[in-house]
Every structure is written in C-alpha cells, then in structure tokens.
C-alpha cells in the first residue's frame, strides 16, 4: 500500500456513546420477545382456561353426600386442572429457549449479548414473573369459583383457615418452579421435541411409574425427584408428606441450582 492511499483513508469511525448492554435491557428484550409471539398468548390462555375450567367443572360435579371432607380435598377439586396446566407452562418455558435455537434467532440474541448468561437469567426472571402473576390470579379466582360451586358444606373452606392461603401460594410456587426448571432444561437440550419429551417422560411420568417398582429405596427416593419436591407446598395438612415445607423449598432450590448450573456451563462452552 502506498503512503498516499493511507492518507486518503478517513479516520476510523467512533461509535456514538450512550448505549449500553444492561441487565434491565435484557429483561425488557425478553419481555418483548415473549409477548411478540402468538404462541405465548395461546399457550398461556390454554393454561389458565384449563386450570380454572377443569377446577370449576369438577367442583360443580362433586356429589354432596359422599362423606368427602377437609380443606385438602376441597383444594384438590378446585385445583384439579393445575397439573394439566403445568404442562402448558413447562412447554412454553421450554419453547422460549428452544424456539430460539430452532429458528436461528439465538444467533441474533447472543450477538447482542455475547456473555450469554444474562440472556438465560433474563428469560428465567421474565417468564417466572409472568407465570407467578398469572397463576396468583388464576389460583384465587379458581378457589372462589370452586367454593361457590361445591355444594357440600363439609368441603367449605375459607382463606383464613389454617394453611389454606399457604397451600394456594404453594400452587403458584410449584408452577413457577416447574416453569424455571423447563427453561433450564430447554437451555441444556436446545431441542424442542427432545426437551418436551424429557420433561414429560422423565420429570413428570418417571417418578410416578417408579413407585410401582418393588424396591423400597425407590419409594424413599421418589419424593426427592425434581418433579415431586414441590408437592408438599400444595397441601394444607403437610403432616403426612415425606418432605416438610422447609425441606420442600430447599430441594426446589437444590434442583434449580443443579439445572441452572449445568445450563450455564453448557451455554458458555458450546458454540451457538
């Protein structure tokens, strides 16, 4: 290159300041991404309608002379649709991550946030918060709906009754926990079909099937399975469950740390 050509060159462009990649920016970005997909609206609507609808339908059809009684029984009718609903929530959680990999939008996302971990955290926070708010509303609406529909006075429960409020928020906590687990799972497996199959097969069904096995130790271990550790939280009377309320929270924490630890390490290490 000649000296003349060098001097003809314009001075290197300096980008205008003022813009920064921030955690708040990542949260807003994930919020925008979540609500800009039609599937989000459809799946969340399905989740809420199934949970509330099934709870109402079953509550309305419970006969009043079967000797059914107790707060846990009443709540189990009201929340009959929640486990179905949790599948919708988990699938959508998985898709918020795997959808980016299958469509290739992950390349745009990770180019904008090359440290990567912030994206996973933002997805978890945004989706967890959305699910928490939505299901807090759903749980209370369904509870009052169910109470209005249940004929049997023995199934009449008040929010002020011992443990009822805690159990209702337990449902919310369980759903949020499963939603967070699903996001980590999607981030680890990166494949929609694989992640959904793993969630339904290994997290949901396997622990239930395992209880059929003849070995005692299996029954001892099953309550600690990632899909089961939240089960204590949704009970009004927790005296019969293997895990106490505190232990339940602890194990949810342990599984989330394990899942996000693995997801984070893989996210950093693997090529996008």
């Amino acid at each position: 290159m000649t000296a003349a050509a060098m001097t003809e060159r314009p001075a290197a462009y300096v980008p205008k300041g003022g813009y920064r990649l921030t955690g708040a920016g990542l949260l807003r970005s994930e919020w925008t991404k979540l609500w800009s997909l039609r599937s989000t609206w459809i799946v969340l609507l399905c989740a809420v309608v199934f949970a509330a609808g099934l709870g109402a339908l079953i509550s309305a059809s419970v006969p009043s002379d079967q000797g059914l009684a107790g707060a846990d029984m009443a709540l189990s009718f009201a929340m009959a649709g929640v486990s179905m609903s949790s599948v919708f929530i988990a699938v959508l959680g998985i898709l918020t991550v795997t959808g980016e990999y299958t469509t290739g939008s992950i390349r745009s996302t990770m180019s904008a946030a090359p440290k990567r971990l912030g994206v996973l955290a933002a997805k978890a926070v945004v989706y967890g918060a959305v699910v928490a708010v939505l299901f807090s509303a759903m749980v209370f609406v369904t509870f009052f709906l169910s109470q209005a529909l249940l004929d049997d006075p023995a199934l009449s429960v008040s929010l002020g009754d011992d443990g009822v409020l805690r159990a209702l928020f337990g449902y919310v906590a369980m759903i949020v926990y499963l939603a967070l687990l699903a996001i980590a799972l999607g981030s680890i497996l990166r494949n929609s079909a694989g992640s959904i199959a793993f969630y339904i097969g290994v997290i949901m069904i396997l622990p239930q099937l395992a209880t059929i096995l003849p070995w005692d130790w299996v029954a001892d271990v099953v309550p600690y399975a990632p899909g089961n550790v939240a089960n204590t939280l949704i009970l009004v009377d927790t005296s019969q469950s293997t895990l106490g309320v505190g232990e339940s929270w602890l194990w949810m924490g342990i599984w989330l740390v394990v899942a996000y630890g693995l997801a984070g390490v893989l996210l950093k290490r693997r090529d996008v």
């Binding site: 990649l21 980016e100 469509t103 992950i106 745009s108 996008v272």
Partner: protein
Amino acid sequence: MIEIEHLTKRYGKKTAVDDLTFAVKPGVVTGFLGPNGAGKSTTMRAIVGLDAPTSGLARVNGQHYSQFKSPLTEVGALLEAKSVHAGRSAYKHLLALARTHGIPAKRVHEVIDLVGLHEVAGKRVGGFSLGMGQRLGIAVALLGDPAVLILDEPVNGLDPDGVKWIRLLLKGLASEGRTVFLSSHLMSELAQTAEHLIVIGQGKLLADTTVDDFVNGSGKARVRVVSPDAARLAEHLAGPGITIASPERGVLEVSGTEAAVVGQTAAAHGLVLHELRTDRGSLEDAFMQLTADSVEYRQTVEGAK
C-alpha cells in the same frame, strides 16, 4: 479494525479454519472470498463470539467481542439471513434487540426505512422472501450504528436494485471510516464493491491483497485482436513467452505481451486491425486459479491416505 491471529477452528476431526491470520482495516470495504466450505462463515462467527476458536483469537478494535460494553454499537453482523424467529414481526425482532442496549424505538424505525421494509415491518418474518429476510438482517447489523460491519453473503437473494443499493450503502459506510467486511461467492460483486480482498480456501489464507493487485497478479491479462490478417499477424507476433489462441476466425487472444506491441507489429507489417483491446483477467479467473490449487491440494492429501 478486525484482527484474526492464528485462528484455528475444528469441528470434531474436520478443520474448518486452519491457522488463519489477517487484519481488516477501517475505511475500505474488504471482501472475503472463498469457495463453499472454505471457512468464511466460521471465521465471521468467531469474530462475534458465536463460535469459540480451538486456538488463536479474533479481536475487534483490540478487544475480544464479548468484552464490549455495548456490542451492538461496536459490531453489526449479518451472519445467516434468517436469524429471526419466524413467528415474530420484523419490527418486534429489531425492537427486542434494540432494547438490550437501550436503543430507542426511533432508531428501529430508522433502520426499517433505510432497508426498505417499512410496509412489511409488522408482518411475521416467516412469510418473508429471501431478499426481505436479507434486508432485515442488514437492518439488524445497522441497528447500533456500529463501527464495524460483518456481513456474510449480504447480496444473497437481493434483486438487482437491492444489490446496487447495498453496494452504495457499504461504500458509503466505509467512507465514514467504518470497517466493512463482507463475504461473497459472487466474485464479480466483490470486484465492484470491495477495495481489499482476503481469499481463503480449505480454511487457509490464499491471498491478502487489493482487488487490483489480485486481478493483475493473476497473470491472466491478454490482448484481444480482431484482424482480417489474423493468421499473418500471429506469425509475426510469435515468440518466446507469448501464447496465441484463436477462439474464432479472425480473432486472436495473445498473452505474454502488450497491446502496444501488437499494434506496432501490425503497423510494421502493414496489417489491418479492426479491434485491439486488453482484457484484464477477471476476478473469477484469478479466484478459480487460486482455489483450483487448494482443491487439488486436498485431493492429493486424500489420495495419500
């Protein structure tokens, strides 16, 4: 300024990029040329941190891409056109990216207008044509008004109008002092857009030169002569180092000499010329010559196993 130093990337046993070293300077458009599978995309992905190098490093303005506090204003990248969720609108895709950096929605509208997607910005990207997807990718790259632009096959799928537009756009951006690095398999396109050229094959550097030098250095320049006395002219021109071909009657293609020499020879012998022209070797020719060597190299290696 993009600096690639001894960059090597292996996927399992396959070496995609092999000890590559070069620099892309600001102020000019630099073309990145190589046959399919030469490692162009891998190199570009390494620059923006999507692929971690097996060894070596890729730096932008002296830093690793992931160390930037505002990556989008430092580097704008178009890697694969459809790096977008098919169910999201173009506007929301850009907005989501803009929000990570606090870039206002006003800038999103600006880049949408700039790439000509105004009318379809609210539509889901899944229905976009290849060219529209490409324009959206360019909008993403321009979003942060970055100092460095990395574009992988930007003219792919664009109509002639779009090709002309992006050519002018890139030259304009380079003249503002930005670093513009684009890959293409359309060598003629690069000849019109780029000033500097990085050529790779088999993941190895084949040439790092200006476009002019690349074409001239290919040794393919030849003189085309049309003459009713072509046969006699050929006799007089013949000499050591000169090859003469006659693709059709009355036409000669002479290499190893210059048009002036041919003209003087014809005048000295009183021969009539209808046409006398220097055909500079095309970029394609030079490119084919270089990459043919790298293909042959691979075959000998495979044969030796």
